[in-house]
């Protein structure tokens, strides 16, 4: 065993560097390239995702998924006979930098589409900037309802779920299994508040009660004081609404305090990346996933998983990988359908676009809803396999058809108007 354990990272990094070097070269050569014939001109997607900072792992997977999609599309002859090119920029999960990168991609690199984001704040800000620049923006992984809700716009689409879908995905399962008194640990920002609000609405409707709600600042490392309060409230279920490191730290400390022995633990959003970072003892509970790699009865999924592993040094695709994959495909399909790169025409083509099975990779239909531009697909509630080995860490108990649980466009408060 070597001291430096970089089995996961080595190949991935090399490919990243290689591609990024290619992107660098192409931007340098850009003025020269524009002299080529129109048909050789690549169609460009600019992807803004975090490669450094807290969300680097999630962002990296979204990029890897998108890369795979672009490679597949180019192998089949590109889009409208033109090659598809992916230009990746690091957002460092910093909104200011993301907006700046968006403008750079559109103004200088002349990309035709923008996509990306892990955090909702980046998604909202880039959405607004893209609207300014009359450019389509595909939110890959920022979950806040508002992106396709009251702050929706004609140019913005989203592949990942809304907070409502996340909570509705496994609400019934948790309620049935653990009971009706819930205690929440909520990260103190809009994403957390939204999840809490959505769960609470459903909980009250189903006749449950809230045993308490601890608001923890985002980025909290020590959750012990919140867990103490949760313990003394003695609920049926402890609902963890955080994401990423917040979730990891909460679960780890809950385990140390033995909370999982006296109450059920669960939440709306589990990610393979998070599961990977958890020690064995902290892997438990009922959760919702937005996509899972192990779907033996769904066609094309195994092919996708194989292809992804081959391109990424054996790493298994996560929901984030699929978001990136589906987003890039969706943009390509819509362009092909619109037979144009005009933003409004492509937007119209994306409205109601159904992802083909080899892209959707799920048992239900996956459609970008015309009214709010939200992808309506599936949710995957399930339980964590205790003692499981990577990547086999999650047992999907049910695949929920999102169209059955989604709120209507009117409820979400979205009204899309195109500029004349």
């Amino acid at each position: 065993m070597s001291i430096f354990d970089f089995e996961d990272y080595k190949i991935n990094r090399r490919t990243l560097l290689k591609t990024s070097a290619a992107v660098g070269a192409s931007t340098l050569l850009y003025p020269a390239m524009s002299a080529f014939a129109k048909s050789d001109d690549p169609i460009k997607i600019g992807q803004i995702d975090p490669q450094t900072g807290t969300y680097a792992a999630l962002g990296g997977n979204q990029i890897a998924g998108a890369r795979l999609a672009v490679d597949q599309i180019n192998a089949k002859g590109g889009v409208m006979g033109r090659p598809l090119q992916l230009l990746v920029e690091d957002s460092a999960a910093n909104v200011g930098q993301s907006v700046q990168k968006a403008r750079k991609l559109v103004n200088r690199d002349k990309v035709h589409f923008l996509m990306g984001a892990v955090s909702s704040s980046v998604a909202l800000a880039v959405s607004q900037a893209a609207q300014d620049m009359n450019t389509i923006y595909m939110d890959i992984g920022g979950h806040a309802d508002a992106v396709t809700g009251d702050k929706c716009s004609w140019n913005t689409f989203r592949t990942c779920s809304t907070t409502w879908l996340l909570t509705a995905g496994d609400f019934q399962a948790i309620f049935d299994k653990y009971g009706k008194r819930w205690y929440f640990i909520t990260p103190d920002y809009s994403f957390g508040h939204a999840l809490h609000h959505d769960y609470l609405t459903q909980l009250k409707k189903a006749g449950g009660t809230e045993a308490g709600n601890a608001l923890a600042p985002l980025g909290t490392t020590d959750f012990s004081s919140y867990l103490i309060k949760a313990k003394s409230a003695n609920p049926d279920a402890l609902i963890v609404l955080g994401a990423g490191d917040d979730m990891i730290n909460t679960l780890k400390q809950a385990t140390q305090f033995g909370l999982n022995k006296s109450m059920g633990v669960g939440g709306p959003m589990m990610e393979l990346e998070v599961l990977q970072s958890l020690p064995d003892a902290a892997r438990y509970g009922m959760w919702n996933m937005e996509w899972y790699w192990d779907q033996p009865n769904v066609p094309h999924v195994a092919d996708f998983v194989d292809a992804y592993r081959k391109a990424n040094g054996g790493k298994t695709p996560t929901a984030r990988s699929w978001f990136g994959f589906a987003s890039a495909h969706a943009l390509a399909l819509a362009t092909e359908k619109a037979k144009s790169l005009d933003a409004q025409k492509v937007a119209k083509a994306l409205e109601g676009l159904e992802l083909p099975p080899e892209v959707a990779l799920q048992p239900n239909k996956a459609i970008y809803r015309a009214g709010d531009h939200q992808l309506i697909g599936s949710e995957y509630p399930g339980t964590i396999k205790s003692g499981g080995k990577y990547p086999d860490l999650f047992q999907v108990t049910d695949v929920v058809d999102s169209s059955k649980i989604a709120r209507s466009v009117e409820e979400k408060g979205c009204r899309i108007t195109y500029p004349s």
Partner: protein, 336 residues
């Protein structure tokens, strides 16, 4: 040499390390070239692979570091927390536009006042200590604002940042300046950059500026000329705070957004290294440093995920080999 010759030469105390006279053709020529380049930037930037917004960003960073350099390079006050005043300017402007007014100039005014007054009020606490201690206190006070911005969700939007405002067009009588246009906003920013340059330039050639430089050079001597040193460091702190707030305000308008990251100590560190890169004791150092830093960062982060290592290496190497910055380096050359 007689008295008349002395009178011919105006002092440019602190204007350069060499302390040469200012009726100095090379320097005048350099200033003219710089202004010509800045004024024509939107036209030549795309030709060299840049874009207008990048130019605006350079100007904003140059503005904040121009102010910071007054404290850092000329007064010798090692502030590592200027991002706080930059960020306060940004939030002040953003909140004004979001909740109070649709007037961009008014929002800028409020942003400048918020950030500048915060620096003015906190100055007395910081200037009680000097050297490394001063640096630590300025960092810590800066972080206090950062955490307030992160935690005061209902007002600032917390970690998500402040959205939902946008710069509006400016009206002068019957004439309207369309600020949505990036090129127009570049010139709008350049206008404020010019004001900042003028203020700093004027201060530097005034007795006030001379006093700042004297504090850097020998605070003890100055004290025994009867000056309360702390008051002057405070003044430098306050002026640089106002300039930083102005830059922050423009930054909020550039992005139509602001977030706690705009107040973080990492950004303060970036500001300091920009001053050092360009040349701490030179007037144009901050602009040169900003050009290098912003362009290199923009370029590197596009071509490698390891851009942080490269930026870090810039810090390390510039400290080891170019402590007086690019301009300092060249001026040193010419002097010899």
């Amino acid at each position: 040499m007689n008295a008349t010759t002395i009178q011919d030469k105006t002092s440019t105390l602190g204007g350069s390390r060499a302390g040469m006279s200012s009726v100095d053709l090379p320097r005048l020529a350099a200033a003219l070239v710089i202004w010509a380049l800045l004024l024509s930037a939107p036209f030549w930037l795309p030709l060299v692979g840049g874009y207008t917004v990048l130019g605006t960003r350079v100007l904003i960073f140059a503005l904040v570091t121009l102010g910071l350099n007054l404290l850092l390079g000329f007064t010798g006050g090692l502030s590592f927390g200027h991002a706080a005043y930059f960020g306060l300017g940004a939030y002040g402007t953003g909140l004004m536009l979001k909740f109070v007014t649709a007037s961009t100039p008014l929002a800028i005014l409020v942003g400048v006042l918020v950030g500048g007054l915060a620096a003015t009020l906190l100055g007395p606490i910081t200037v009680r200590r000097k050297g490394i201690y001063f640096a630590m206190i300025t960092i810590a006070i800066g972080q206090m604002f950062y955490f307030i911005a992160v935690r005061w969700n209902s007002l600032t939007g917390g970690e998500d940042g402040l959205t939902g405002f946008a710069r509006t067009n400016v009206h002068f009588g019957g004439w309207t300046l369309d600020l949505h246009n990036p090129t127009n906003f570049y010139y709008f920013t350049l206008f404020f950059f010019a004001i900042g340059c003028f203020v700093v330039w004027m201060v530097l050639r005034s007795p006030l500026g001379h006093t700042f430089v004297a504090i850097r050079e020998n605070p003890k001597r100055l004290r025994f000329l009867g000056l309360p040193i702390g008051v002057y460091i405070w003044i430098a702190f306050a002026i640089s705070g106002f300039v930083a707030a102005l830059a922050g305000s423009l930054y909020a308008l550039l992005n139509n957004f602001t977030s706690p990251e705009d107040m973080n100590w990492i950004l303060s560190g970036d500001f300091v290294i920009i001053c050092v890169l360009g040349g701490m004791r030179t007037f144009w150092g901050p602009l040169v440093g900003s050009v290098i830093y912003v362009v290199v960062q923009d370029y590197l982060s596009s071509i490698t995920v390891n851009w942080m290592s490269f930026i870090g290496a810039i810090f390390v190497l510039s400290v080891l080999f170019f402590p007086w910055g690019l301009l300092g380096f060249f001026q040193g050359r010419f002097k010899k």
